[in-house]
Symmetry: C2
Subunit: 301 residues, 2 copies
């Protein structure tokens, strides 16, 4: 074995929201995330990925954030020992756009891959069969039973725990550990969602969890919105990402406390009710602004 090369691979979880559905860009008929080698010529990882995405898809990326770097041997795609692959994964946000033409890479809904994550119409039924599978795993090993039970209850909002949308990654990893998900040898079952190549679904879960956490303290949603939008459109976008329904009056109050948006003057009468005011994001003033605050009990001395 003369030349055990290490390959550096960039993987992108690109997300857009169209008509209330958060979608991810895929290749291979929805089975993989777009990825490519990191070329030596690139100035940095980010710029390498940006260039590469610009070429592969027509979509300019507004927002790009590093997710995680993987090199686990036991999860690598090329199982053998002909070198190793380091995968550096990114989350990218793309503005809503017309449906892509034929021949283009496909956009698939998040919740095809994670049906248990969408709670906008209440707890999805697939959670019942998932809970059954998890229970089998919990009782399979008496010595770890209690610990597994606690982790499961916490992650999936069982036995009194509330559902927490931020735990998308923990949930996927628990299903993986329990062998329920197809990538971990589980049997095909619509309740456990559509599998993906290698660890791509895990990367997508990482991206979802990161985005769900981030919309609460940084104004990243606006990277997914068109220039002008109504408050309900904004709310629907956030709801689709969080997989939850929000309280309309309170959502509005929250938004205008932050002073992140301003009226354009225009109105929209798309939806059939009273026409809504159009708003736009106040780019100029607020590029680098934190939303929430300390959560630590400061003393002012």
């Amino acid at each position: 074995m003369p030349d055990k090369q290490t390959h550096i691979e960039l993987i992108a979880a690109l997300t857009a929201v169209t008509s209330g559905v958060p979608r991810v860009m895929t290749v291979r008929a929805g089975e993989a995330l777009p990825s490519g080698p990191f070329e030596l010529g690139h100035r940095s990882l980010q710029s390498g990925l940006r260039e590469w995405i610009g070429d592969q898809t027509g979509h300019p990326i507004g927002y790009l954030e590093q997710l995680y770097t993987f090199a686990d041997r036991d999860r690598s795609s090329a199982g053998g020992d002909e070198g190793r692959t380091i995968s550096i994964s990114y989350l990218g946000l793309v503005r809503e756009q017309a449906a892509p033409g034929a021949g283009r890479p496909g956009w698939h809904g998040w919740y095809e891959y994670f049906p248990w994550e969408d709670h906008r119409d209440g707890r999805p039924n697939c959670l019942l069969s998932i809970a059954k599978g998890l229970h089998a795993w919990i009782i399979a090993e008496p010595s770890r039973r209690e610990h597994r039970q606690r982790r499961t209850d916490f992650a999936f909002g069982l036995d009194g725990s509330p559902w927490n949308e931020d735990l998308a990654l923990q949930r996927y990893e628990l299903l993986y550990e329990a062998g329920i998900v197809a990538e971990a040898g589980g049997k095909a079952d619509p309740a456990t969602g559509r599998p993906m190549f290698a660890d791509h679904r895990r990367i997508l879960a990482t991206g979802i969890a990161r985005l769900r956490a981030k919309i609460k303290y940084r104004p990243v949603v606006f990277e997914l919105m068109p220039e002008n939008f109504t408050l309900l459109q904004l709310q629907r976008t956030v709801e689709s990402l969080a997989g939850l329904t929000l309280h309309k009056p309170n959502f509005r109050r929250l938004i205008d406390q932050q002073e992140l948006i301003e009226e354009t003057g225009g109105m929209s009468s798309e939806t059939g009710g009273r026409p809504a005011k159009l708003f736009r994001y106040r780019h100029a003033v607020l590029e680098e602004r934190a939303l929430s605050g300390s959560r630590l009990p400061l003393s002012r001395n």
Copy 2:
């Protein structure tokens, strides 16, 4: 050029808190973070790093979290084109311990490298000279003046903006961009802190920012505490990390609302006042628990 190898390097920002000072493990007389090549034999990045740290230092790592992966050519240490280095950086937390013996790698205080980050005794004076340097940079380019001013005011809590301890990374990157910091060609000045090799100080800033954000919503402080501790010790540790003083009664209220700790029954009379109850972290019950909640206005339907 036959063999343009890509090197994978692991870099660790290991932190411990001793007697109210957060410290980082360094090598080369405080000029660099410990780092080493990623060997092909390792099962995963994390385990590779754990092994390696275990060998190099006597300290077992309780908590280890990936920070960021860098490959920017213009920040690489070996400036030439003999291949490229990918640096994967980690934040590790180490429990308080007796002072390390001679010959061991050294622990240096965070605030030697970032004197402007410690606000426990009020705004440090070094901020005055830093603000002066930043102002020169702001007015140097009239077309970007307003934008630079806003970013500076926000990051450093100037002109009405409050100081936000979470922005440690933004602050360092601003100083880098402005050429104030020695790594970016700035002149030596105690106010701008002690420089480090290559981009190691940037990695430390990333770790500090991550940890400051994380203590607010995950119980990670306990990774830095001894088995038994008093409430004031806990408070002092949090304060040292955040670089802020906290309001004692409210800190206590916060802590026991979370139900993260329990009394051991013992007392401590170390400090000279009334003896304090000793507490311990409730490992068993709470390994995977989120603290804060949604910040999204849910509807309960």
